[in-house]
């Protein structure tokens, strides 16, 4: 008989008890992991029933414009279920929608946590809200936007596809941010019509859901010469008096860069004159800026563009597409493939792609003495616990004040001088000095070019900066420049005199 069978069972029982205790301790640790460490992440998951239920029950906060006019508010249907109502369809691509069926988009999505009253990261508030269940009231947003200016911008774009961004260059605050075509967000927010309206809107060829102001990527054309100017003047590659002796001769046959010919369209007006910097801006000389780009170098051009915000998403209230000067990866400096790409990029063709918001920031930085302000749309968030004001915030210096002054002077001539009036028809605001630059962006094939304008006013005391793009609107002066002139005039003379 082995001694072990005499051992009492107590030892085995105790060990099994110990193992079970450890296993139960493990459960407690597991519960702690999910309930404390991962809790907030789990609770914010979009498919968490509390998020879905909260979105249904919560009375979303209002969205107001700069004057307090209501842009979005919530009403209750016959069953007491809240639904969203929007003031005007000109707001749709920007503000988006909050739909019980399709969730949220646009500003409604970006500020969903605040609008649905779940934005407070305060754990004490979380605890208190758990102690007092019931429907929550979301926080309200006040925007820097002017509803009237927004409506005018959409009206000016008319049936064309395009975008308008208007900023106060001193603060970066958005005054208007239009994208066309627009859509009926009210129908998508209404539970009874949501499915039909969403399906119909999604099928429209012009992509109404796309907010072209922040997400549209366009070939800039000549408006990009402002960025090239900042790089060239800032790096000392050129001065305002720089001329290129080979430029007049190249006007008729085109400038040959490594086998590629760069053409111009202004020699009927400038003749055989060797243009200086101001004149090159006035007549929008491609050859002058191709030569300037080559002299400046790809690295300096890319670095200058980056200071305006190219190459990464713009810090803004909404997601933004990234603007680029080149696809990158090339060995010619700054990511350019070769001198042909650089020469073309310098006047805004090649692989250069920009968003309207990015180009409004370029105009804004020139207007603001080279200082780039963070663009902002939401200026305050107010809820039961109080009112939080936001910004303004400086992003950095895009160029020196001297360079900004030089470029600004040239942009003023581009609108106001005798040559400028020919090339930038319609941008001038009667009685107010205006600065600006048109762009006629070739998009390939036989398609009409995209019509661009960026600028600001008043030239000596800038209060509004603008970027306008009209898809296939022809020359810059055909569509974009008159829209810009009338909208800036409306803002400066009527809405905010």
């Amino acid at each position: 008989m082995n001694a072990r069978d005499r051992a009492p069972l107590g030892q085995g029982i105790a060990r099994v008890g110990l193992i079970l205790s450890l296993l139960f301790g493990l459960i407690a640790v597991g519960a702690g992991y999910w309930q404390v460490i991962r809790a907030s992440e789990l609770t914010r998951a979009p498919d968490n029933p509390i998020v879905i239920a909260a979105a249904r029950d919560v009375v979303r906060g209002k969205i107001l414009d700069r004057t307090g006019a209501t842009l979005a508010t919530s009403k209750r249907d016959a069953n007491g279920e809240p639904y969203r109502v929007y003031a005007d369809r000109s707001l749709a691509p920007l503000i988006g929608y909050a739909s019980p069926v399709y969730g949220t988009a646009g500003l409604e999505r970006a500020y969903n946590a605040e609008l649905s009253g779940q934005g407070s990261p305060n754990s004490l508030d979380d605890l208190l809200s758990k102690l007092a269940p019931g429907a929550t009231q979301g926080e309200s947003l006040t925007l820097s936007l002017s509803l009237k200016l927004q409506e005018a911008a959409v009206k000016a774009l008319g049936s064309d596809r395009g975008a308008v961004v208007m900023l106060d260059p001193r603060t970066g605050r958005v005054l208007a941010m239009a994208s066309t075509p627009t859509f009926n967000a009210n129908a998508i927010a209404d539970p009874t019509t949501a499915v039909a309206a969403f399906t119909r809107t999604a099928a429209v060829a012009g992509q109404p859901f796309l907010d072209r102001a922040t997400m549209g990527e366009y070939v800039p054309g000549s408006i990009f010469k402002i960025v090239t100017s900042a790089a060239a003047l800032g790096s000392g590659a050129i001065s305002p008096s720089t001329t290129y002796p080979q430029q007049p001769a190249a006007e008729t046959a085109g400038l040959l860069v490594s086998g590629f010919r760069i053409h111009d369209g202004h020699h009927d007006f400038s003749g055989s004159l060797a243009l200086d910097y101001d004149q090159a801006i006035e007549v929008s000389c491609n050859i002058y800026f191709a030569l300037t780009g080559l002299r400046t170098g790809g690295a300096a051009l890319a670095a200058s563009a980056a200071r305006f915000g190219f190459g990464k998403p713009i810090p803004f209230d909404l997601p933004t597409a990234v603007s680029q000067v080149t696809n990158g990866g090339g060995s010619f400096g700054g990511g350019f493939k070769d001198d042909v790409e650089l020469a073309n990029a310098a006047y805004g063709q090649a692989e250069t792609l920009v968003t309207p918001l990015q180009m409004a920031l370029v105009a804004s930085a020139v207007a603001n003495g080279g200082v780039l302000m963070r663009p902002e749309l939401v200026t305050s968030i107010s809820g039961q616990t109080g009112n939080v004001s936001i910004g303004p915030e400086t992003l950095g210096s895009a160029m020196s004040p001297g360079v900004a002054g030089t470029i600004g002077h040239a942009m003023e001539l581009a609108v106001e001088s005798s040559w400028g009036r020919i090339f930038t028809t319609g941008a001038a605001i009667p009685g107010i000095d205006t600065a600006g630059k048109t762009g006629t962006a070739q998009i390939g094939g036989s398609a009409e070019p995209n019509s661009w304008f960026i600028g600001y006013a008043p030239a000596n005391n800038p209060q509004v900066a603008i970027a306008v793009v009209v898809e296939q609107g022809g020359h810059g002066s055909a569509r974009a420049a008159p829209i810009a002139g009338s909208l800036m005039g409306l803002w400066l003379k009527t809405l905010n005199p």
């Binding site: 072990r4 069972l9 079970l20 519960a31 991962r38 992440e41 249904r56």
Partner: protein, 482 residues
């Protein structure tokens, strides 16, 4: 002990003398206070959410009175019967059952409905009925079971009964979520595995106590393992085959895991030999591997466990929703009745009342509540193992330990499954999940534990001459040394 040492066949007649159970009284008062507070809290929340005036009344005064009344009646019966049995188990089970009642009152009553005598009953009413019956079973078993002869003598009869039940489930069982779980006889349907787990423990206690000396003594070597001769290993393989059979035929992973784990633990307690456990774990790994390769159900469960987010709205849905519930609960919970947000009138977790009550409580009572509930199960385990350790002989020790283990291991399997610590298997959370079979079977378990803990119970029969006589069994605490 004189007259009590009965000649087999004779009955011990003793005068019944009531005996106060002060500790149980005090603990039951505490349980009553907790449940009244819980019910008041639930009532206030429910009325507020329904837009009614908030009062200090319990959520359902009638149900609470019936439930607490049943606990008091059980207590009085034990007092009047003069039992010197454990005084902590009944209040602990009473609190777990009370939490179950509050949870069922809080869930939509339409989850389960049944008509009886022309009246329709909802979830909480039915669960209350089962809880009261379970308390009655506990009380009757605790008082009436004065001898274990009927348990220890007929171990093979019990084993046969268990196998018959298993076969019945296989032959006439109904499928629930892809597993053969319930059988229906006339108006009554039940889950046989709940009863089989009790029968299994009775059989194992009889078998292991009889063959313990042989299992411990003889040995052969197999590599680093010292094992008993092959004939003694047969039950191990039989048990393994049965567990695998349950997986294969019934696709009831939870029951298989429970049975095998309890079996291994009992073998370890009986023999104190780690080699059995190692062999058992090897068999477990081999069996799991085979099952994973062969059966889609097993593969699904494991894949869901490894990454539920791959199919978040499909296969992984339940587990993810369970984790969301725990997350929403946080540390202090939402409070009873304030969690489990409805979307389009649907509860966030399917089968919440049977398979996920732990997640529901995790949300509404928070981490604090989870730890408290785990603590209650540990109290049950501690009392049960204490009863086992102080039992008069091997059979009773193994029986008490086994009964304790089926409750403790089952609670672990489902709680850990809810928390994604192990793959989810559909077993009930003892005393909390909705369901008559589970409540009654666990009632039998607790009733037997109470009976085994009674110092006045009939002493075990003298050891048979063929078996070595063991010196006095330890008298007290677990882990009291050799």
């Amino acid at each position: 002990m004189s007259a009590a040492v009965g000649v087999p066949g004779s009955r011990t007649v003793s005068r019944i003398r009531p005996r106060l159970r002060r500790r149980e009284t005090g603990l039951l008062v505490l349980v009553g206070v907790i449940l009244v507070l819980g019910s008041v809290s639930l009532g206030a929340t429910q009325r507020q959410l329904a837009g009614q005036a908030v009062t200090w009344l319990p959520a359902d005064t009638g149900q609470l009175v019936i439930y607490l009344g049943a606990l008091v009646a059980a207590h009085l019966a034990l007092v009047l019967a003069g039992r010197r049995s454990d005084q902590v188990l009944l209040p602990t089970i009473g609190l777990l059952g009370g939490i179950s009642l509050l949870l069922m009152e809080r869930l939509p009553q339409s989850l389960v409905t049944q008509s009886l005598a022309g009246r329709s009953f909802g979830l909480a009413s039915i669960q209350l009925g089962w809880l009261v019956l379970a308390i009655a079973v506990i009380t009757i078993a605790a008082i009436a079971v004065r001898s274990d002869a009927w348990l220890r003598r007929y171990k093979y009869t019990w084993a046969a009964a268990g196998i018959v039940l298993l076969l019945l489930t296989f032959l006439i069982g109904n499928e629930v979520n892809g597993a053969l779980l319930t059988i229906t006889v006339g108006p009554i349907s039940g889950q046989p595995t709940e009863l089989i787990k009790v029968i299994l423990v009775i059989f194992l206690a009889g078998y292991l106590s009889d063959f313990r000396p042989l299992l411990v003594g003889a040995s052969m070597r197999l590599g680093p393992l010292r094992l008993p001769p092959v004939p003694y290993l047969l039950p191990m393989f039989a048990m393994w085959a049965m567990a695998l059979g349950i997986v294969v035929i019934q696709r009831d992973l939870g029951a298989a895991l429970l049975f095998f784990a309890v079996f291994l633990a009992l073998v370890y307690i009986a023999t104190a030999r780690a080699s059995y456990v190692v062999l058992g774990l090897i068999l477990f790994v081999v069996g799991s591997f085979i099952a994973y390769q062969l059966f889609g159900t097993v593969r699904d469960r494991v894949d869901i466990w490894l990454n539920p987010f791959v199919d978040a709205s499909g296969k992984g849905y339940q587990v993810i929703q369970s984790l969301y519930a725990f997350g929403r609960g946080g540390i202090i919970g939402t409070g009873l009745g304030a969690g489990l947000p409805l979307v389009a009138g649907r509860l966030p977790i399917p089968a919440i009342h049977t398979d996920f009550p732990f997640a529901a409580l995790g949300e509404e009572l928070g981490l604090i509540g989870v730890v408290a509930i785990l603590g209650l199960y540990l109290v049950v385990i501690e009392r049960g193992l204490r009863i086992a350790a102080s039992a008069a002989d091997d059979f009773r020790a193994l029986l008490a330990a086994g009964l304790t283990l089926v409750v403790g291991v089952q609670a672990f399997i489902i709680a850990a499954g809810n928390l994604k610590l192990i793959p989810l298997t559909g077993v009930t959370l003892p005393f909390i999940s909705y369901g008559g079979s589970s409540l009654l079977a666990n009632g039998v378990v607790v009733g037997l534990l109470l009976a085994l803990s009674d110092r006045g119970v009939e002493p075990p029969p003298p050891p048979r001459p063929s078996r070595a006589r063991r010196p006095g069994f330890l008298g007290g605490r677990p882990g009291g040394g050799r």
